[in-house]
């Protein structure tokens, strides 16, 4: 067993820079996912089949193909069609769109979790569709979705190592870089692993607090 503590400790500062980038990508990506996810969820419920079906197709397709490949695609192919995004934006958008497909399912479950009786009561009061959504359904659906939404921030953060393929210098890329300079891989990779795990644990702790605060639905 050989292990170089010097390199282990020296790796931290550079990897912390990588952590910052990973967090930036996560935050921006998550905001995209929250909004786009709701858009997906609502469009998929459209009564117009020519809206709901294509959106459904796209969502299912994105959901069932690897993020890694989608990132490649965004990073190398989009610019060929004259769409130019910074590397960080590409990463955030890749994560955001991918996770929007999951999050749309979370919203869907939240919306479907609103009892049928609530729709019927809204109808019995003749509330218009818009009002039904904004004052009856969504205010109940979103708290219902809150716990699962929290889980997806963590899941998304955990997927940032995949940004290695689009040259975004997050932690694993940095660790590999340190590795190819020093030819010592175990130490920086272990540090990266520790930082990922620690951050994810902190995130899930925060998510649990949020869940307790906002995730409770008043029973009717």
């Amino acid at each position: 067993m050989n292990w170089d503590w010097q390199i282990f400790w020296d790796s931290f500062p550079r990897l912390l820079d990588g952590l910052v980038i990973a967090l930036q990508a996560t935050v921006v990506g998550y905001l995209i996912a929250l909004v786009l996810g709701l858009v997906f969820a609502l469009l998929r419920r459209s009564r117009l089949v020519w809206v709901s079906a294509p959106v459904g197709l796209v969502v299912e397709f994105i959901r069932s193909t690897p993020l890694l490949v989608q990132l490649f695609f965004l990073f190398y192919v989009l610019p060929q069609f004259d769409v130019h995004l910074s590397t960080l934006m590409t990463g955030a958008i890749g994560l955001g769109v991918h996770y929007a497909t999951y999050i749309s399912e979370v919203y869907r479950a939240g919306i479907e979790g609103v009892p049928q009786g609530q729709w019927e009561a809204a109808k019995a009061l003749n509330l218009p569709a818009r009002r039904t959504w904004t004052s009856v359904i969504l205010p109940q659906a979103i708290p219902r979705s809150a716990p699962a939404l929290g889980n997806y921030v963590i899941a998304m953060f955990k997927d940032t190592p995949q940004l290695i393929v689009i040259t975004l210098p997050e932690m694993l890329t940095t660790a590999q870089g340190i590795g190819s300079e020093t030819f010592r891989y175990p130490e920086p990779i272990t540090v990266a692993g520790i930082l990922y795990l620690a951050t994810a644990l902190v995130m899930s702790w925060i998510a649990r607090i949020f869940e307790r605060r906002f995730g409770t639905v008043r029973a009717a």
């Binding site: 190398y76 040259t167 590999q176 300079e181 030819f183």
Partner: protein, 273 residues
């Protein structure tokens, strides 16, 4: 399903193992013209073909290609995932501490891969130090990253691509303004993509702190396998003097100019940049 890494008699017995197994696992990074999968799906390239010839001379007839990221070649070799690095890897003192190189079979200058017309007018690595809007692309785990850094390009303007094709796509996509690699690699890869709006800058020898950075490539084995390295060097020397080496590598764009008499020992002991 474990592989025992603690193999060892003095100088190693790899060749005997390979002979009895009948094949050799060659690690490469899919980089033209050194070692790559051609459009027929076969492993070929300068390093591959030289390696195959020498192994045949040593009595090993079968070749198992093992593809990896360039940066994963050394750890992969040391992790026992393959037997030899046959990827035209440059000899550098730092690498010599990790693996044992054979003598080099070529020595090549660098070029920049640029978008057609070279809109930013870039020529050498130094230009990237001066122009703070210029981003240079390198390959992950290659020596070029270190060179660019040591010459003074800040990290924020060095983009690290996972492999050579990504470097090409990266320049095309505007992810980098140039891609630094040996002219050999770049020329050969460009040939494979006729019609792409990319061009090569003039060749140059990078100088770091007054030391010339040679692009002299060789085969790499694990540190404890001195015996097979000696056998390899013997055959290589033979092929150099007979001219067979040049014959093998000419189809890949190599010329007399890239032939070299440098030795691994010389390159390994060069002052660290």
């Amino acid at each position: 399903s474990r592989v025992d890494l603690e193999a060892t008699t003095e100088g190693g017995s790899l060749l005997d193992e390979l002979r009895s197994r009948g094949n050799v696992r060659m690690g490469f990074a899919n980089e033209r013209p050194f070692a790559y999968i051609d459009s027929e799906g076969n492993l070929t390239g300068q390093a591959s073909e030289v390696g195959k010839t020498i192994f045949r001379r040593l009595g090993v007839e079968e070749f198992v290609p093992k593809l990896a990221d360039f940066s994963s070649l050394i750890p992969g070799l040391n992790a026992g995932l393959f037997d030899v690095i046959a990827a035209g890897m440059y000899i550098t003192p730092a690498r010599c501490e990790q693996i044992r190189f054979t003598n080099p079979d070529y020595n090549a200058p660098y070029n920049l891969l640029l978008p057609e017309g070279n809109p930013k007018g870039l020529g050498t690595v130094e230009d990237f130090v001066r122009r703070d809007d210029a981003v240079i692309g390198v390959i992950v785990g290659g020596v070029e990253q270190g060179i660019a850094r040591d010459i003074g390009v800040p990290d924020s303007r060095i983009v690290v691509f996972p492999d050579q094709p990504s470097g090409f796509d990266g320049v095309l996509a505007g992810r980098a303004d140039a891609f630094l690699l040996t002219g050999l690699s770049l020329r050969s890869a460009l040939e494979a993509r006729p019609g792409t709006p990319l061009e090569l800058g003039p060749p140059f020898v990078a100088v770091v702190d007054g030391v010339e950075q040679h692009g002299a490539g060789a085969f790499g084995f694990r540190q404890d396998q001195g015996n097979i390295v000696n056998d390899f060097n013997r055959e290589l020397a033979d092929m150099k003097s007979s001219g067979e080496l040049l014959e093998i590598v000419e189809p890949f764009g190599f010329t007399e100019a890239e032939m070299t008499d440098l030795t691994a020992d010389e390159l390994c002991s060069a002052p660290v940049s």
